[in-house]
Amino acid sequence: MMRALMSNLPLLLDDVSVRAGATTILDRITLTITPGAPTLIVGPNGAGKSSLLRLCMGLVAPTSGRISWGGRTDHAPVRRAIVFQRPAMLRRSVAANVAYGLAQAGTLRGERAQRVAFLLERVGLAELGDRPARRLSGGEQQRLALARALARDPEILLLDEPTANLDPAATRSVEDVVRMAAQSGVKVVMASHDLGQVRRLAGEVVFMVRGAVCERAAVGDFFDRPSTSEAATFLRGDLVI
């Protein structure tokens, strides 16, 4: 479809900082996100994982530095999607939530019903299309948010701790959807502080501390041979301050 016309990848962050008043939220980050296996953003609470994802989505403008998507610097979030840690459910049915995402992404009216069915099937909510979205369980809401994000036919999918409050069964079904998306060629960038999840999903790890990227490594190297003392401390389960 539009894939040939424009690409969001590589996503380049060049010496990007985000500050709010005197507080530095993101500190001189230089990062390249290229197609491939999921990039997991890891770090203690308050390290700036969510802010980095918002920046990558174009929701936050850098205070200094440059960010570009496939060479473009405009912020129109075409074929980018994000799932927030607590996604807001529109006060509509499950199917209508996905249809809304499709409409906003420019899917033609006539194609929507079929796409809604496809996307709900993909996230395992096909039976619940008529249910009010806000009556779903936490795990189901996350999967609906994933379906709504996938409705944007994203090249890059940003996920902010989508399983933070879920039980293991719900976590597995969310991870299955993420894995499926990654296998179909969507670049997944996901924040997590569940190290087991990082092992299960990651191709590479970006480890953040205090708003800065501290270490970046392939997942195996990160766990076996962390190159910074902060990462080693974090992996031991000690507090990184």
Binding site: P77, L90, S93, Q104
Partner: protein
């Protein structure tokens, strides 16, 4: 006075004059509430979403105007609509149209102010998602109004209740003309001043029952449809 029928007798016998008064009251207040919703809800949503200098002043004004005195609205519209007024050429003073106009002016601020509050609360919840989905300004307004529709029923009811209960504005611009612009509230005021208290009380009871019924119907609809769509 003893040969005058009581309010109950009028109701039970379906007195045509009484029926006419009740119908006109409902027609005027429901029309005003409908018009005010069409004007006030988008206005409230705009005030909730658009950031501009002096917005705080507008919000305070809007909230203050919820308490507009009906007689003052009536007087202002009387001056506008009277023969020598700027809108005098339309000749609608002392007609039901003028009454609808007056009540609309009276309740637009109520509906707009309550809508603003509701939409602003919902916007806090939806802001990130709608921004991430690249929803434009018009889309934001329609999405928020639609998704807030159950709460907006309450805003509409507040407006309708105010319109149905007020007497000052309709009295001044309608003129309380028998069989033409007489509403329940103006009739109650007139009958009370004439000393016909049973009729005044009867009309008052009918008014309260009607307002109760409409509120109950709207509330029931809200609960029912909320159960269908929302959690």
């Amino acid at each position: 006075m003893s040969d005058q029928p009581t309010a109950w007798q009028l109701i039970i016998t379906g007195d045509p004059a009484l029926f006419e008064i009740v119908c006109l009251s409902l027609l005027v207040s429901l029309s005003a509430a409908a018009l005010a919703a069409v004007i006030g809800m988008p206005l409230g949503a705009l005030a909730a979403l658009v950031r501009f200098p002096g917005r705080a002043v507008v919000v305070v004004l809007l909230n203050a105007m919820m308490g507009l005195p009906p007689v003052v609205v009536g007087l202002a519209l009387y001056l506008l609509l009277s023969r020598s007024g700027p809108l005098g050429e339309f000749g609608i003073l002392f007609t039901p149209a003028a009454m609808v106009f007056a009540q609309t002016v009276l309740i637009v601020p109520i509906i707009a102010a309550l809508t603003r509050q509701t939409v602003e609360d919902l916007w806090i919840e939806y802001r990130d998602e709608l921004t991430a989905m690249d929803v434009g300004p018009l889309g934001r307004i329609t999405t928020l109004l639609w998704d807030a529709r159950f709460s907006l029923v309450t805003a509409w009811l507040a407006g309708f209740g105010r319109a149905a209960a007020e007497v000052g504005a309709v009295m001044i611009v309608g003129g309380n003309i028998d069989g033409f612009t007489r509403t329940m509230t103006t009739a109650i005021a007139l009958e009370t001043s004439k000393g016909n208290l049973p009729l005044a009380m009867g009309l008052g009871s009918i008014l309260i029952v009607i307002v109760l019924l409409i509120n109950a119907a709207a509330w029931g609809t809200r609960l029912w449809s909320e159960r269908q769509v929302s959690g």
